[in-house]
């Protein structure tokens, strides 16, 4: 339901700062750009408010609608 495009993520963590339900954590997997991207660890808490998608400066997050 939340897709993160790791080729675009720069690791600014705006999404982590702004998620009202603290869905994201910083993953320990490193990308080719040297970035530890966010990971929606607590996806079950997500309400699909889409603030992360809206505020990501790099268009790296896509949020599907809540089922």
């Amino acid at each position: 339901m939340i897709e993160i495009d790791e080729s675009l993520c720069k690791g600014c963590y705006v999404c982590i700062e702004f998620c009202p339900l603290e869905v994201f954590i910083i993953s320990d997997k490193i990308t080719v750009a040297g970035v530890y991207p966010p990971h929606p660890e607590y996806i079950e808490k997500c309400t699909a408010c889409k603030l992360c998608e809206l505020m990501c400066p790099d268009f790296a997050i896509s949020v599907g609608d809540k089922k």
Binding site: K10, E17, P57, D58
Partner: protein, 268 residues
């Protein structure tokens, strides 16, 4: 084209996101939309959008945009500029574009510095700040861009920080719809060139700074009506955000077309 050249935590990417959402909500025809920009990080935005774009010389975007709009009024003309580009080198074109009241929408990204060149003093740099050309602290006073726009007579003036996605998108939409010069100032973090030298390196710190140093215009109006002098004076030191002006005023292209109706010969 993506990923963008913008640094991690830079607000320019978010602002691009907001503008594109505003355009989508208005169902603007992208084939009839042109993005004009000056020089600087903010001015790189049009290079990432599939549309007509004009990346011009430093400070002059509003003048180029004026030529485009009057010659083809059916185009939606959106200008991206920065604080230095708009009120530094571009100051003259800024005030005259507003004076003429040409129907364009100007999104001014204010990061308090000249970011692209590494973080020099800008006309909006707060007093006391450290930049590469004010290593001992800035002694100059900073311009309030939105206030300048309001006083120059722009019919739509708004200011938001990147902290406010929904308000920003709404204002950008209102600006585009406004028939006249619309000015939207966006306070935007620059962690690399400005933040790093002023203890605002982390995005979280910059946003704390915005929360503590901005005040919504409606809240200020309430304070002025109800609070003590001391409290009002403290509040007035902050940067005012919100919609600062929304009026109607004769617009340049419309006025020119009225003149042509009067003057143009049918038999040429």
């Amino acid at each position: 084209m993506l990923p963008t050249i913008f640094c991690a935590g830079c607000g320019v990417g978010s602002i691009m996101n907001y503008v594109l959402r505003a355009i989508e909500r208005l169902s603007l025809n992208i084939n009839k939309t042109i993005f004009v920009s000056g020089i600087g990080c903010s001015s790189r935005i049009p290079g990432y959008i599939h549309a007509d774009g004009l990346h011009t010389t430093h400070g002059r975007a509003i003048a180029f945009a004026t030529g485009i709009k009057i010659c083809n009024p059916e185009l939606n003309v959106i200008v991206f500029t920065g604080d230095g580009d708009c009120v530094g080198i571009g100051g003259n074109h800024f005030i005259h574009g507003i004076r003429r009241n040409i129907d364009i929408t100007v999104i001014a990204v204010n990061n308090f510095t000249y970011g692209m060149t590494g973080g020099q003093l800008a006309p909006t740099t707060p007093r006391g700040s450290y930049t590469t050309t004010t290593p001992y602290g800035n002694i100059e006073h900073a311009f309030d861009m939105a206030h300048l726009a309001k006083v120059a007579g722009a019919p739509y003036v708004a200011r938001w920080s990147v902290l406010d996605p929904h308000q920003s998108i709404k204002s950008i939409g209102e600006g585009i719809r406004k028939h006249g010069f619309a000015f939207i100032e966006m306070l935007s973090p620059c962690p690399t060139a400005f933040g790093r030298r002023n203890e605002l390196k982390m995005v979280r710190d910059q946003w704390e700074w915005y929360k503590n140093n901005t005040i919504h215009i409606k809240k200020l109006e309430v304070l002025r009506a109800t609070s003590e002098e001391v409290e009002i004076k403290e509040a007035e030191k902050k940067i005012i955000v919100g919609v600062l002006q929304d009026i109607e005023k004769p617009e340049y292209v419309s006025e020119w077309n009225k003149l042509l109706e009067r003057v143009a010969c049918t038999d040429r």
